[in-house]
């Protein structure tokens, strides 16, 4: 079985203190749509952080399903925008169409 680099959880970012400076020094954080958070796997500090933010652990497939649902909704919202409010090309100054996200462990 492949060694996991990351684990996933769902947690609501309440703002200041959600990720402290000390957390950031020790761990690698990445957020995804749907309040999905990726942190280091097999790491006591990461496990403490998940518990401390009242996070709910998710498997890769569970996290992926949450992200997919959020991205699909965001894409539908973007598609419904008037044409002049969409980005005609990547890098344009308007809001770009949300892209699919593939999570990895």
């Amino acid at each position: 079985m492949a060694h996991k680099t990351y684990q996933y959880c769902v947690a609501t970012n309440w703002g200041k203190g959600f990720i402290t400076h000390n957390d950031a020094v020790k761990l690698e954080f990445r957020s995804f749509p749907g309040n999905v958070w990726r942190v280091n796997a097999h790491n006591q500090d990461a496990n403490k952080w998940v518990a401390g933010v009242n996070g709910t652990h998710k498997t890769l497939s569970e996290a992926q399903a949450i992200v997919d649902a959020e991205v699909t909704q965001a894409q539908a919202d973007w598609d419904a925008l008037p044409a002049d409010q969409k980005a005609p090309t990547a890098g344009f100054e308007l809001i770009s169409r949300p892209t699919d996200i593939t999570l990895t462990e």
Partner: protein, 332 residues
């Protein structure tokens, strides 16, 4: 074995609370927490969570230091999807509403070294899509007031810098990309013209520094990796390009000591790089990839507010490498 006294000629202080005025390398014992502490320095740049911004805001503008900042305007998305007149100040922990700006808009420039009592909002656009404006406003800590118009009606994103009475704003989008460079003396705007125009017309760049020494990272077009520096009279293309191509990022610092972060495509939107006036170095990434955020502060203490991606109402605080940091001494 040598003791601390043998090495430093001083005893370890026994204190009930951490001292406020400490030097890097200083050691003390906190009798309340029963921990030995040392004043160290951060080894690399890291981002931590800041206070939640009151609205979802992209194409938002900001100014001021990390612990005394102001943010204003924005396109509210997801949500009503339109320009807003919301303005808020930040104390390093939470945001507090201020009186609103007079003309709702997004994509404005800002004198990003300004303050909560001296901010400047530059041009922007008043719709989710088109309709550029040349309206400018100043905040004095109590009210936003209209001031002389920007020389062109343009979206300026994060391409302004300086302070309220010595501001710089360059390039932008007026229906097409422009190279115009403008300065503000606290009363009047001046469009400088040749040879002060930027070399590459662009939008979605990010500028930091002062009216006489600034740097702009990226932008669309030309390529998204271009860097130009400003010496007070002309822009020069820098030889260096940043490592992760992206547009619509944020920046903070000076022309020779800056941090450049975020941008799109969103796959590159967490990237953070430092700039020393010659080259870029990758440092700790943001937790939430984003673009079109407000950016301000310094290279050692930057603030990223809102933006598009998954972080429209979140903020992140950057602490640069070498920043003072109180560390607890442990054994293992």
């Amino acid at each position: 074995m040598a003791t601390y006294y043998d090495i430093f000629g001083q005893k370890v202080q026994y204190l009930s609370s951490d001292p406020s005025d400490v030097q890097i390398g200083q050691v003390w014992y906190n009798s309340t927490s029963n921990t030995a502490k040392v004043q160290g320095a951060t080894a690399s740049g890291v981002w931590s969570a800041g206070g939640t911004y009151p609205i979802n805001g992209t194409n938002i503008s900001g100014a001021g230091p990390q612990t005394a900042a102001i943010a204003f305007g924005a396109r509210v998305y997801p949500g009503p999807n339109g320009p807003t007149n919301v303005s808020n100040t930040y104390d390093g922990s939470s945001w507090t509403a201020t009186p609103p700006i007079n003309t709702s808009r997004s994509n404005s420039g800002s004198a990003k070294n300004g303050s909560q009592t001296a901010a400047l909002m530059i041009a922007g656009n008043t719709g989710g899509g088109g309709t550029e404006t040349n309206v400018c406003e100043e905040y004095n800590g109590s009210t936003w007031a209209s001031v002389n118009n920007y020389p062109v009606s343009a979206r300026e994103h994060d391409q302004g810098t300086g302070i309220q009475t010595l501001a710089l704003c360059s390039a932008g989008y007026t229906g097409s990309y422009i190279t115009t460079t403008c300065t503000y003396d606290g009363v009047n705007w001046t469009a400088l013209g040749s040879p002060s125009n930027m070399n590459g017309a662009r939008f979605s760049g990010t500028t930091c520094g002062t009216q006489t020494a600034a740097i702009m990272f990226g932008g669309t077009s030309p390529t998204g990796v271009n860097v130009e520096s400003w010496n007070g009279s002309t822009w020069s293309e820098e030889a260096a390009s940043f490592n992760t191509p992206r547009n619509a990022g944020g920046s903070a610092g000076t022309s020779t000591n800056a941090v450049f972060f975020g941008g799109e495509p969103t796959g590159n939107g967490a990237a953070t790089e430092t700039w020393d006036g010659t080259s870029f170095a990758t440092t700790g990434s943001m937790a939430t990839p984003r673009y079109s955020m407000a950016s301000n502060g310094t290279a050692l203490a930057a603030l990223c507010t809102g933006g598009s991606g998954a972080g429209e109402n979140t903020t992140e605080e950057f602490t640069g490498a070498g920043s003072p940091e109180t560390q607890t001494i442990t054994t293992s």
